[in-house]
């Protein structure tokens, strides 16, 4: 193991340089796409979708008044965790982005950044009539009216506000869509990025995102 390829040089905070052997990672598991046999692929996707739909990690983006329904849904009265739904701490750990009300232009900027940080497969649940057509803020000068012009949405839950039963019904619909392979919108977003970006730039007048977002 004296080959130079297996040695890496690390600079410590004290500017001292040390040599260390490279860590030998275990070979990665092959993903579902690498299975050539169609029948086997079907089975693998069934199992993967089954696993996905029963562990939905939720990033609750609490805007507007809908944020108050999330604690009720997640805690012991309605207990969403029996369906595998629980909170996630950061966007990179989350599967579901939940937008719980009206979005002002200022908030939309943050939502776009959060959405683009999430990893595939990712789902978006929009909550309340404000995200559908503006709701009671339909003539407000500073809120967007239709969320799916800016980021793709899987499930809309109508109501002002939807009760926790309605929220759970929406999640049941999402689980059904995941099992059938209809959910998951990261690919849709990447394919139609020009359209989404054009819409976003139309309302966000001072586009000052970091360079990673300016694809």
């Amino acid at each position: 193991m004296s080959d130079t390829k297996d040695i890496r040089i690390i600079t410590r905070p004290t500017k001292e340089q040390i040599e260390q052997a490279k860590i030998d990672f275990a070979p990665r598991c092959t993903s579902a796409g690498r299975v050539n046999d169609k029948e086997t692929q079907k089975t693998v996707e069934f199992i993967l979708n089954f696993a996905r739909k029963h562990s939905l990690f939720l990033l609750a983006y609490g805007t507007g008044c809908g944020a108050i329904e999330i604690p009720a849904t997640l805690t012991s009265r309605y207990d969403a965790e029996r369906l595998g739904i629980r909170g996630a701490a950061t966007p990179r750990q989350a599967d579901v982005l939940m937008i719980t009300g009206y979005l002002s232009v200022k908030t939309l900027k943050r939502v776009i950044r959060v959405y683009e940080q999430m990893q595939d497969p990712k789902y978006v649940v929009a909550f309340g009539s404000c995200t559908i057509n503006g709701g009671m803020y339909f003539d407000s000068y500073n809120t967007i009216k239709a969320l799916d012009r800016y980021i793709p949405v899987d499930v809309y839950i109508a109501g002002c506000m939807p009760r926790p039963e309605a929220v759970l019904k929406g999640f049941a619909k999402l689980q059904e869509m995941i099992q059938n392979g209809n959910a998951g919108n990261g690919e849709c977003y990447r394919k139609n990025l020009d359209w989404y970006r054009a819409n976003q730039r139309k309302v966000i007048k001072n586009w000052d995102f970091p360079d990673e977002y300016n694809w």
Binding site: I132, N133, F138, S140, Y141, I144, K145, V203, K205
Partner: protein
């Protein structure tokens, strides 16, 4: 209460009115606002600035600024009101008297377009990248702006004007200026 009224009357030649229990309202000229606020703060013990509020009197072509100060001893509030012109509105900056006035002045500057020369941070406050006219002015048509700026989903065209429906049902009389600046 009485001493405040007589003192203000003596010094500034104004007529304070008792609004209700422990509330006094006084109207002054725009140039004497800061001296009156300084007098109230230093001599009368009104050490706390509650709020600076702005009213748009569009029919008279004026803005009204209301400075609300309060003193803790007898929990008395004084509302110092002043009128300024609606064309090129400009008002004296009082953030040297109270630091918190800075926040209220920035808000009024953004929402009503009133300039405060010498403001510490004359930049945007709540609205990010706002390019339209000041949104809290009464001649700003929020619905028209929203329809032009944001994409809407079709299906709300047959929505009723609720205000019109209520006035028809109750027989309430709406003044002409309210009709002019109502939604439709």
């Amino acid at each position: 209460m009485e001493t405040i009224i007589t003192k203000l009357n003596e010094i500034f030649n104004v007529r304070p009115k008792i609004l209700r229990d422990r509330q006094i309202t006084v109207e002054v000229d725009k140039n004497r606002v800061s001296s009156m606020l300084l007098y109230l703060k230093n001599q009368m013990g009104f050490i706390h600035l509650n709020h600076i509020s702005c009213v748009d009197w569009i029919e008279e072509g004026q803005f009204e600024l209301v400075y609300i100060v309060w003193r803790p001893e007898d929990k008395t509030t004084v509302l110092v009101k002043t009128r300024i012109d609606r064309e090129n509105p400009e008002m004296e900056n009082i953030d040297t008297i109270w630091d918190q006035a800075h926040t209220y002045e920035r808000e009024i500057r953004e929402m009503f377009g009133i300039e405060f020369p010498g403001l510490k941070a004359p930049r945007e406050f709540i609205l990010e990248g706002w390019e339209g006219p000041p949104p809290m002015r009464r001649d700003f048509d929020t619905r028209k702006y929203a329809m032009e700026t944001y994409e809407t989903r079709p299906g709300r065209e047959d929505a009723q004007n609720v205000r019109e429906y209520i006035t028809k049902r109750t027989g309430e009389k709406v003044p002409d200026f309210a009709k002019k600046y109502s939604r439709d």
